[in-house]
């Protein structure tokens, strides 16, 4: 379980995280989403005790990370796959990490096999591709068999096979009852991996919701076109739908699904020319939620001087 309470982090005059609160529960994969610069990595750094919170608290299993005696046995984290010294062999990179938390060397061999790096265990990390480094970073996170896992952009640089491997691994870890937090700026990836979503922008919480709730919230009704809109409006309103006329004569109906609208029109003999369900994709929902908080937005139109 991860708890972030009223967390604020300022770097000089810049507020990276601003009174952020959320909880990540065990047994689910929680996607931590936000545009670049939203404060995802900062939040994770504070959770791991790397940066100090300006105010508020970030707790893992009810404790501050820096209070944990052997933290890798409770929390596994991958923040930056490039954060390794290239001259060291893969086995030794995991070896010193294992030693630092009193984990046996046999576990190093196990996790190397689990992430598919057993064959390059004796190779120097400097020669690894980004994908191999991601796997090595995930191996390090799994080393202490922790109940809480945090990954910052784990699919970066992975090929499609690797992306699918990560997705299945995250789902399996959550199915074991572990707490899994994955940050990403790609909703399309989270849609396939996450159960819950914590969306932030400019350091503030925008949404803390399940994937399904978010999809429902952005269902925009059904667009219906008919030559007899007045009659149709009356019938749909009577059936409990909310009807909104569109400028071109069509109507948008919310509260009734496509089948119900079709059945009702057929029962009354009202011809329909078009019935289109109008739900926004999660990607669109996400873009809309974070539209005001992108840090480096490009102007869409440039005025002629």
């Amino acid at each position: 379980m991860i708890e972030v309470r009223e967390l604020t982090k300022r770097y000089g005059g810049t507020t990276a995280v601003d009174h952020l609160s959320f909880v990540v529960r065990p047994g689910t994969v929680t996607g931590f989403l936000g545009p670049n610069g939203a404060g995802k990595s900062t939040t994770m750094r504070v959770l791991l005790g790397l940066d100090k919170a300006t105010s508020g608290a970030a707790l893992v299993n009810g404790d501050r990370y820096t209070a944990l005696r052997r933290p890798m046995r409770e929390v596994g984290a991958l923040l930056d796959a490039g954060a390794v010294q290239g001259g060291r062999r893969a086995f030794d990179h995991l070896g010193w990490l294992a030693r630092s938390n009193g984990i046996g060397a046999r576990r190093v061999t196990e996790v190397l096999e689990q992430v598919g790096l057993a064959g390059v265990a004796r190779k120097r990390v400097g020669g690894f591709s980004l994908g191999m480094r991601q796997r090595l970073g995930i191996a390090a996170a799994l080393l202490g068999d922790p109940g809480v896992l945090m990954f910052d952009e784990p699919v970066n640089g992975l090929d499609p096979d690797g992306v699918r491997w990560i997705r299945e691994l995250m789902r399996a870890l959550a199915a074991d009852g572990r707490t899994v937090l994955i940050s990403s700026h790609l909703m399309s990836e989270m849609e396939l991996t996450a159960d819950r979503l914590v969306i932030i922008g400019r350091g503030r919480l925008i949404a803390d919701t399940s994937v399904r709730e978010l999809a429902d919230r952005f269902r925009r009704g059904v667009l219906v076109r008919s030559p007899r809109p007045a009659e149709l409006t009356a019938a749909l309103t009577a059936a409990g739908g909310a009807v909104e006329p569109m400028p071109d004569g069509a109507v948008t109906v919310t509260g009734l699904d496509v089948a119900a609208i079709g059945d009702m029109a057929a029962a009354r003999g009202i011809p329909l020319y078009e019935v289109t369900s109008h739900s926004a994709s999660l990607e669109e929902a996400y873009m809309e939620l974070t539209a005001d908080s992108t840090e480096f937005g490009a102007p869409l139109e440039r005025q002629a001087s």
Binding site: R45, L68, G82, D92
Partner: protein, 258 residues
């Protein structure tokens, strides 16, 4: 605490720069043998009159000159090399108690340089004395106890310079900056100190970290000119450098964001 020391030792021995530095120390140790052999040959060619006044640097001279440089490089890399790759975060996530981690890192770096220095000095000087044998070269005929004290303090100053540079690295966080600063302290400041008006030229020069070892226990059989500090004062100055540098480094390491 034991986990942290064991992990840092694992790290130090599996990084290539450590092997390179130890290789360099071994190379200069061999140079001690070459130097001793040359002194012996040279001595044999001298007339009795020339022998009475001839002087030669001691067997361990190649190490005495190079060990401080190796100490600066290893002391700097021990911490700063992690900042350039971002690995300091991986390390802190594994060992989040910063004072413990700082002590472990400083401890293994200092201990490794101490052992490497003492071992290479003992072998280089011992073999040098065997090569020169009973030739009456003054710097090769000092009493064994004086030679041992001299070598011990060379080793201890090497470890102290490692720790001073390590502390400096924790404040500066940059490999290039730390090594440059370390070299400036060893080689630039002594030259600048000599420009000061007397008696400050000699006083400042004597208090610089690279010049303390010979004031604590000088090379037996060599003429003076090593500085103006009494041995206990020189020891106190050396300890003060270590305490101040490690204190500043530990404060910076514990307080700043990684």
């Amino acid at each position: 605490m034991i986990d942290a020391f064991a992990a840092e030792w694992y790290k130090l021995r599996t990084v290539r720069s450590t092997v390179a530095i130890l290789g360099t120390v071994a190379g200069f140790m061999l140079l001690c043998l070459v130097w001793s052999w040359y002194v012996a040959r040279y001595w044999d060619g001298l007339s009795a009159a020339r022998r009475a006044t001839a002087q030669a640097a001691a067997a361990e001279q190649p190490l005495a000159v190079s060990l401080p440089v190796c100490a600066v490089v290893l002391g700097a890399l021990a911490l700063t090399s992690e900042y350039s790759s971002g690995m300091n975060r991986t390390t802190l996530a594994a060992l989040p108690r910063r004072p413990t981690l700082f002590a472990a890192k400083a401890g293994v770096a200092g201990a490794l340089m101490l052992v490497a220095a003492l071992a290479s000095l003992a072998v280089g000087s011992g073999a040098g004395h065997v090569i020169v044998g009973d030739r009456a070269v003054p710097t090769f005929q000092g009493p064994a106890a004086d030679v041992a004290a001299h070598l011990l303090w060379l080793g201890l100053t090497t470890a102290a310079i490692t720790l001073v540079t390590f502390g400096l690295g924790a404040v500066l966080r940059s490999t290039a900056g730390t090594i440059t600063a370390g070299m400036a302290i060893l080689f630039v400041l002594p030259a600048l100190a000599q420009l000061l008006p007397g008696p400050w030229d000699e006083r400042v020069w004597s208090a610089l970290p690279g010049n303390l070892s010979n004031q604590i226990a000088g090379t037996p059989g060599s003429s003076g000119g090593h500085g103006v500090l009494d041995p206990p004062v020189a020891v106190a100055v050396l300890v003060a450098y270590v305490v101040v540098a490690l204190g500043a480094g530990a404060y910076s390491f514990a307080r700043r964001d990684a």
